[in-house]
């Protein structure tokens, strides 16, 4: 029997995001990157939002960035999310530019401890054989 999931799994997965999800399963944070203007972006899509080129490839991100903004959830809105509050809702700005939402872990869920712009690094958390997600912790 599979262990009970603590988080809703990403769904529905879209075909254009497959390299992102495949990369996570291999412990890589992959970002879509425009082959024409050179900029990385997020979320994955088939055209560049910066220069509108359809010449889009992928790059492996360093996994480093900063905590751009955060919230502390004292309760869950979604019954499928079973991690006990309080937990940290995080917006991370990656070194490569794009921002993504995630959770901060290995730090107290306290607005006096968390600071915008603190350096963070990715931690991969396996959910099951198909899904791994990127979480973030203070950079060591």
């Amino acid at each position: 029997m599979e262990p009970e999931l603590l988080r809703p799994l990403p769904k529905p997965m879209t075909p254009e995001a497959k390299p992102y999800w495949d990369g996570l399963n291999e412990g890589k944070l992959m970002l879509p990157k425009c082959e024409d203007c050179g900029k990385a972006f997020f979320y994955p899509r088939i055209a560049c939002p910066h220069c509108h080129s359809r010449n889009v490839g992928w790059m492996q991100a360093s996994g480093k960035g900063k905590l751009y903004s955060f919230q502390i959830a004292y309760r869950a809105l979604n019954p499928a999310f079973k991690i006990a509050p309080p937990y940290i809702l995080a917006m991370v700005e990656l070194e490569e530019g794009p921002r993504l939402l995630s959770n901060m872990i290995n730090i107290e869920a306290d607005p006096d401890v968390l600071k915008c712009d603190m350096p963070v690094e990715v931690v991969f958390e396996k959910q099951n054989d198909e899904v791994t997600i990127p979480l973030f912790q203070p950079a060591g």
Binding site: R7, P8, L9, P10, K11, P12, M13, T14, A17, F42, Y43, P49, Y68, S69, F70, Q71, I72, A73, Y74, R75, A76, L77, N78, A80, F81, I83, Y87, L89, A90, M91, P98, R99, L100, L101, S102, N103, P111, K115, C116, D117, Q127, I133, L135
Partner: protein
Amino acid sequence: MKELSNSVAIVGVDESDEIGKLPDVSLTSLHLQAVHNAVADAGLKISDVDGIFTAGQHSPAMLGEALGITPRYVDGTSVGGCSFIMMVGHAVAALHHGLCDVAVISHGESGRSGTGVTRARDTSLSGQYEMPYGFGGAPTYFGMITTRHMHEYGTTLEDWARVAVSTRAWAGLNPKAMFQDPITVEDVLNSPKLFYPFNLLNICLVTDAGGAVVLTRADRAKDCAKKPVYVRGAGEGTEHTLVTNMADLPLSRATTISGNKAFEMAGVKHSDFDHIMLYDAFTSGPPIMMESLGFCEPGEGVRFFDEGRSDPGGSLPINTNGGGLSYTHSGMYGIFPIIEAVRQQRGECGDRQVPGVKCSLVNGMGGMLSAAGTIVLSHET
């Protein structure tokens, strides 16, 4: 659009028969009540209506069928709660060109009770990139904008709390407001913690409600039942849907674009406004909108709520109906600040009437400041 300034007037406004907790009233009924009430307010008949504008879970076609009319013009722009404010501008263009003669903008939402409602929409973005981390629901996104604002500009929890206190003071003067008892900054700071930086009293209500607005060309407006309120300016803008893609976070590009268009069409400057209605799903929304609209420098929007400036009797009244924070908030709130601005311009607001009011601003957001609609209303041309 400048040549269309003042060419159209709002001639009818009203809510559904009741607003609040209405488990026995379907979403369709909220629409129909609001439209019938607003059309009656204008001194018109349902059969006069030939333009239908609505957003949310009903298409304009469905509303036309429910009303028993076959409109000549419809608009179903749906970019969140400000859609109804945007539709004022769309109605001005349609009326001006004779695409319709009497336009109704309608909102109905069983936001609290879910009576007669099912949901089906594309959830692939939030499902993949947000939900696995416990995001879901506006309070888990708008706080991102708010925390970043505090970091960049030094705004505080006390600053946001003052917005709730001022808005509640207005609600105390509105018999239709759900919460009317006065509150203090300490009450807000001590209310239950939900999603830092938001406590319970930083977040809007969840209600069932409908509202509608009737518009016609200025020449015909003079024959309606009430004093016409002219649409001097209208603007709109959209930027993003995911909060991570908000380029100038914590400011809103959509709001800046929308405001600039509306002010230019109206030929007004910031100091011309003596009454302001801002979409307040969260206490941080109104100050950030004031900044994005150019009323002040970034970070200074909270000053409009200092020392009673925005309160009853203050120098610049803001959210005089009691807002989404204390009056009503069904989900897509944008119709209600239009209704309040029209009532203020008509002088119908009783204890909360802003004396001598001449120029109202209505600005709303869709999503997380993702889209914006702005209108300038006045009983003078």
